[in-house]
């Protein structure tokens, strides 16, 4: 396939079957390899759509500064696009994220402002909102509330899945900004009767939930509960185990949030087998494992790896 530029090569990622992890010929799992995007993650889709929309709306003009709270992938996608389009970019990132993410961000020229580990991405959002108020000339694309995030998936990821697998019965993805699930979920709900839309939410260590009050929690503005069929909380131990199974049994080297999505997908597969129903379950491989090597997730016993992830924003 030939494209005019790297940005033009966005999307059209492979959907690959998992013959070993699928429980039966009637209940099959399919991995959508979003690591095959320009910067190696699913976030390239919303990042480019948010930038394009902001340019169309006249919010982003040459020389502008972009500000974004991000735990990594969105910042990386934005940094690459900002470099090509001539914007300065500042990412507010929790300090308990992997070293690789920081190096990659700097590599594309992003400036990083660290937010406190306790509170995780909630704190990054809070810090970024404060900076945006102090610097009204900076443009915060704000992935958690930007409808172009979900629309990127409604216009691209969703149609790709349905075209490749018209018999799809389930869609499973990690829940972060909720953009993937909202966009793909709405698209498939409009076209596939009884489609199941399933969220896999990472459950981190206690430090990450260290808010001051329970009413300081955060729900992304994009989130619409009615799009989902159900939502699972997946801890580090299950996410790690599934990430390694995907690697060992199917050869797919994915990041840890993918293990979480696979865990929920296998749960839905088990239910389908029990109910004697056929199923084609698509889940998102959000990124490859490269950025998580320094966390030690792929070495030693699962218990050792889980201990190393304690307190980290691993998804």
């Amino acid at each position: 396939m030939r494209f005019d530029s790297l940005l033009d090569s966005l999307g059209h990622t492979p959907l690959v079957g998992l013959p070993r992890l699928s429980p039966s010929p009637d209940v099959r799992l399919w991995a959508k390899l979003e690591d095959r995007n320009p910067t190696g993650s699913v976030k390239d889709r919303p990042a480019l759509w948010m930038i394009d929309q902001a340019e169309k709306d006249g919010l982003l003009t040459p020389g502008c500064t972009i500000l974004e709270p991000t735990s990594g992938n969105t910042g990386i996608s934005l940094a690459m696009a900002a470099r090509l389009r001539g914007y300065r970019i500042i990412c507010v990132m929790p300090e308990n994220t992997s070293e690789e993410r920081r190096q990659i961000l700097r590599m594309w020229g992003a400036e990083i402002i660290a937010s406190p580990a306790a509170g995780g991405s909630n704190e990054a959002v809070r810090v970024a909102k404060g900076l945006a108020a102090e610097h009204p000339d900076w443009v915060m694309l704000y992935q958690y509330g930007n409808e172009a995030n979900a629309r990127a998936h409604y216009e691209t990821t969703g149609p790709e899945i349905l075209a490749d697998l018209p018999s799809v019965t389930h869609f499973v993805a990690g829940l972060g900004t909720t953009g993937t699930l909202m966009g793909v979920g709405r698209y498939l709900r409009e076209r596939v009767p009884d489609i199941k839309i399933v969220a896999a939410e990472p459950r981190y260590g206690e430090l990450v939930y260290g808010l001051r009050n329970i009413d300081e929690g955060f729900v992304p503005e994009l989130y619409d509960e009615s799009v989902l069929t159900t939502r699972f909380s997946v801890g580090a131990s299950d996410a790690l185990r599934r990430t390694r199974e995907l690697l060992g049994q199917e050869g797919i080297f994915a990041g840890l949030s993918t293990g979480g999505a696979l865990h929920a997908a296998l749960g839905m597969a088990r239910k389908a087998v029990k109910a004697g129903e056929r199923a084609d379950i698509v889940f998102i491989v959000a990124d490859g494992g490269w950025k998580y090597l320094s966390t030690g997730a792929y070495e030693g016993t699962l218990e050792e790896a889980e201990t190393r992830l304690e307190g980290q924003l691993w998804a």
């Binding site: 976030k43 909630n122 958690y144 900004t177 459950r203 001051r212 909380s233």
Partner: protein
Amino acid sequence: MAIEVRIPTILRNLTDGSKAVEGKGGTLDELFSDLDTRHPGLRAKLVKDGKLLKFVNVYLNDEDVRFLGGLGTELTDGDSVTILPAVAGG
């Protein structure tokens, strides 16, 4: 009938620092009322006007109770309930 309930850090001032407590009830609503008798104030941190508060997530065996039956979600012996504040991803 005992159900294990995992308590987030920010609510442990109500459970004498315990990470997990045990309670009973046929539904989540009954479980929270039962817990409140031993940990006064806990229920008010989770429920208001008969609904779960927006920034509180409750999981029954890892599944979000909002998709099961909300406060009316039925419980059985040996179930595990996890309470967590809502956090951002991305």
